[in-house]
Amino acid sequence: MKIVSIIAFIMAFVLLISGIYGLNIGPVSIEGRQYQQANQIGSYICLSCIGLTGSTVSHTLTDDTINRLKKIDYPVKVWVFTSNDCPTCPDAKAIILNFTVENPNISYEEIKLETQGQFFDTYAVSELPTVIFFNKDGVVLRKNNFVHKIIGIDRLQEKIIEAIEMVS
């Protein structure tokens, strides 16, 4: 038992140090050290990965949404926060694309975690996908003094059209 515990000690610390100093043993090597990656996984939660939101949603807009959308006559800018490994982010993107097709006043921009991580910190975004809105002056939409964020893809259409109506 003595020898086993000594081996376990050595093993544990070899693993820990190799994890901290970025010795990637796996078949795929990724840039950055494992603890930084852990930070990324832990901080920016993919909601559908955790099972908090559904994983499928229809992209086509309903008649009600289209009617309300047609009434909008002021410019609205939409930001979508996404990442590469988030399975529902493409769905969110596709729905917002449909919005822009119906009404040219609405424009959208995609913020990727891998390339534009600094924006995640400025708007305190920790869930994926998240949608936020700006008016023509570039002022972010707030609700009760907090940045109005739409998290996840459950009932995304309705939430977005409500938020767009609030922007004015």
Partner: protein, 693 residues
């Protein structure tokens, strides 16, 4: 709540706040640790190791960082984080706390049944299966499947998310809430169910207990096997046998509750140095102490006392016992309708006035005298003369001078049984002299069926506590009812004919039993006993003090016990036993576990009378006696017994050709002679019962 448990609760709640300190805007999600806390919680400040493991595996990497962090903790403290830090463990402890509140209300004793064999312990295997299947599913479906079903995620992430963003249903939500509800139900049934069978972190933490620096130590020298550690343990570990179990969460409840301080945590540095940071209590030196109520004050049978074994300090304790609650309680015999007879108290002050009383007068006689208004001076007169007097007084009342019809009428008013016979004068004399309380119970369909002889016997003495039970009554269920009317004398089925001589003979044998057998209580086994089943089953135990160490020896005639044997069965710890003779002969290996297990089989025994050939003050004789008492009770009194002292009745021994002692004798073909073991007893029972197998 003990001291260590309080510290642990504080530690758990502090770490719950520290792990979820994100509400202050502090996040250190670079860190992870072997604690089960969902990182999707809006306030969570560290990452979940299982979530990270799955993500790294999906990305195609060996999760060296996560495994290294967990391993570094495990090699130092083993699974201590499970008991002291983990929020989900805290949740389970909270449920246990609620459960215990309900249990205390119901006052159910918490004794665990003996645990199963070690080979049946699947707990580590199931945990490993959960861990491996988590990783395999993550690789196969490129998704964190475990996280979608995780119970702590439901508590910490789903509920906040659903409240903040409005309710939305998907199939995973239904599944995970179902799992959470199932688990909460299981937590109420089995404490720490998650830690025991499912936790994937525990799959790594469990084996690390065997190699970690932090270990549980046990000083085995003075352990008396009270098994409190086993009862207290939320994971049902047999602590003393398996100190560093793979299930252990290092919660230290056992260290907290050990009455003698034999358990302690310490650092075992590769088996070279052992340091114990906990202070051990000084183990008390246990001596053999003899506690007997027959010292000065209350007279009774004098027990020879060894100066070495009996310390003088015990007098105070005895005083407390003898004169508890104003005085000593004496129950007068009860008849039908009066379940508990008149009660007579002898106040403490009066006892002091009386001073030393003559020996060899039993307590009951003395107290009867007192209750009948005798002065203290009279106690110095010899008891025998007094008894004679009383008999003559009473004899005047009973026969012939009163017309028979009148007697019948009185009797009918008393018993509602219209018959009466007259006893032989010698028998009547014997019954008047009888100074041992007896219990007689008659079970029949009709009160007319109760044998008249029995009623006459009951009528002629105050010491017999008679009760008539209707066979259709609920109370009669316990008794043997195949041959009605059936009669129980001191809880033993009487299967002779209802002739005057035979019943008297039976009463004589019972009296012999009560006068020669003493009750022993091994007080070391009473330490930490919460069940106190002895006090619940029998009123006799309410009069006896329960101490911390030593032995209590109580002659049955002094404490008014009728030797039904219920206490012997009900005491789970084996603290109660009986001895034949005067000396304290202890028997450490004695246990009736096997007999208790087979109680259903024993209850099928045919009514029989066993003759027990015993020798006084011998270990094996006492063992045989205890087995018999247990068998007699478990067979619902069908197995009655009588003791034959071998030294005095050598004729009876020679007549039956008995070669070895102790001996159970029913007939020449059915007997067990020599040393008694549990298996030989069961073989003996097999011959007597319907049980074949």
């Amino acid at each position: 709540m003990g001291k260590i448990k309080r510290i642990r609760t504080i530690s758990q709640s502090l770490s719950l706040i520290l792990i979820n300190i994100g509400f202050l805007g502090i996040f250190f999600k670079h860190l992870t640790g072997p604690v089960f806390n969902c990182y999707a919680c809006p306030w969570a400040s560290i990452s979940c190791p299982i979530g990270l493991l799955q993500n790294f595996v999906i990305n195609g990497q060996v999760p060296t960082y996560v495994l290294g962090t967990m391993g570094a903790v495990f090699v130092f403290v083993g699974s201590a984080f499970c008991g002291w830090v983990c929020p989900f463990g805290f949740f389970q402890d909270a449920i246990d706390f609620v459960k215990n509140i309900f249990k205390k209300k119901n006052k159910k004793p918490r004794r665990k049944t003996p645990t199963k064999n070690k080979s049946k312990d699947f707990s580590l295997i199931t945990r490993l299966i959960v861990l491996v299947s988590t990783l395999v599913l993550a690789i196969r479906y490129v998704d964190t499947i475990f996280c979608k079903l995780c119970p702590i995620g439901t508590i910490e992430a789903t509920f906040p998310y659903q409240i903040a963003n409005g309710f939305s249903y998907n199939i995973w939500l239904g599944a995970r809430i179902g799992i959470l509800i199932f688990l909460i139900i299981m937590f109420f049934i089995i404490s720490r169910f998650w830690c025991r069978y499912l936790c994937p972190i525990g799959a790594l933490a469990g084996p690390s207990n065997k190699i970690s620096l932090l270990k549980l130590f046990h000083s085995g020298n003075n352990c008396e096997g009270c098994n409190i550690c086993k009862d207290v343990c939320p994971l049902d570990i047999d602590v003393v046998k398996d100190l560093n179990s793979t299930r252990c969460t290092r919660c230290a409840d056992c260290v907290d509750k050990c009455p003698k301080g034999h358990l302690a945590f310490g650092l075992d540095i590769f088996g070279l140095v052992a340091v114990s940071p906990f202070k051990k209590k000084k183990p008390k030196v246990s001596e053999k102490k003899l506690v007997t109520p027959s010292t000065e004050g209350i007279p009774g049978k004098e027990i020879p006392q060894n100066a070495e074994t009996l310390p003088t300090e015990e007098v105070d304790v005895l005083d407390e016992f003898k004169y508890r609650e104003k005085g000593t309680l004496v129950e007068r015999p009860a008849y039908m309708g009066f379940k508990k007879g008149e009660r007579v108290y002898l106040p403490y002050e009066e006892v002091k006035k009386i001073g030393v009383r003559p020996p060899k007068t039993s307590l009951s006689v003395l107290l009867k005298q007192y209750s009948e208004g005798r002065l203290a001076e009279d106690y110095n007169t010899p008891a025998e003369a007094f008894v004679e007097e009383k008999i003559e007084e009473k004899l005047k009342d009973i026969p012939k001078s009163i017309p028979k019809e009148e007697v019948d009428r009185r009797h009918f008013e008393k018993f509602r049984v219209p018959k009466r016979t007259e006893l032989h004068l010698e028998h009547l004399k014997y019954l008047k002299e009888l100074n041992v309380p007896m219990d007689i119970k008659a079970i029949s369909n009709n009160s007319n069926e109760v044998p008249a002889v029995l009623l006459a016997i009951v009528d002629s003495t105050d010491q017999i506590n008679f009760e008539y039970i209707n066979a259709r009554d609920q109370r009669a269920e316990w008794y043997y009812r195949d041959n009605l009317p059936s009669v129980y004398i001191n809880g033993k089925y009487y299967n002779g004919s209802f002739s005057e001589d035979e019943i008297l003979y039976k009463i004589k044998t019972e009296r012999y039993l009560i006068e020669n057998i003493s009750l022993i209580i091994d007080y070391r086994k009473c330490i930490g006993c919460n069940a106190q089943s002895c006090k619940k089953t029998c009123d006799v135990f309410k009069k006896i003090p329960i101490l911390d160490e030593g032995y209590g020896v109580y002659p049955l005639s002094n404490i008014g016990c009728s030797l039904c044997g219920k206490c012997l069965i009900e005491c789970d710890r084996g603290g109660v036993s009986f001895i034949f003779g005067e000396k304290l002969v202890t028997d450490s290996n004695f246990s009736i576990e096997m007999i208790k297990k087979n109680s259903e089989l024993i209850s099928t025994v045919y009514p029989e009378t066993v003759m027990l050939f015993l020798e006084k003050n011998k270990k094996h004789s006492n063992r045989a006696l205890n087995f018999t008492i247990a068998l007699s009770y478990l067979s619902h009194g069908k197995l009655s017994y009588q003791i034959i002292d071998v030294v005095r009745n050598q004729e009876a021994v020679l007549k039956r050709k008995i070669g070895a002692i102790p001996c159970f004798w029913i007939s020449d073909s059915i007997q067990v002679a020599g040393m008694v073991s549990e298996s030989s007893i069961l073989a003996f029972i097999r011959k007597l019962s319907k049980w074949k197998g």
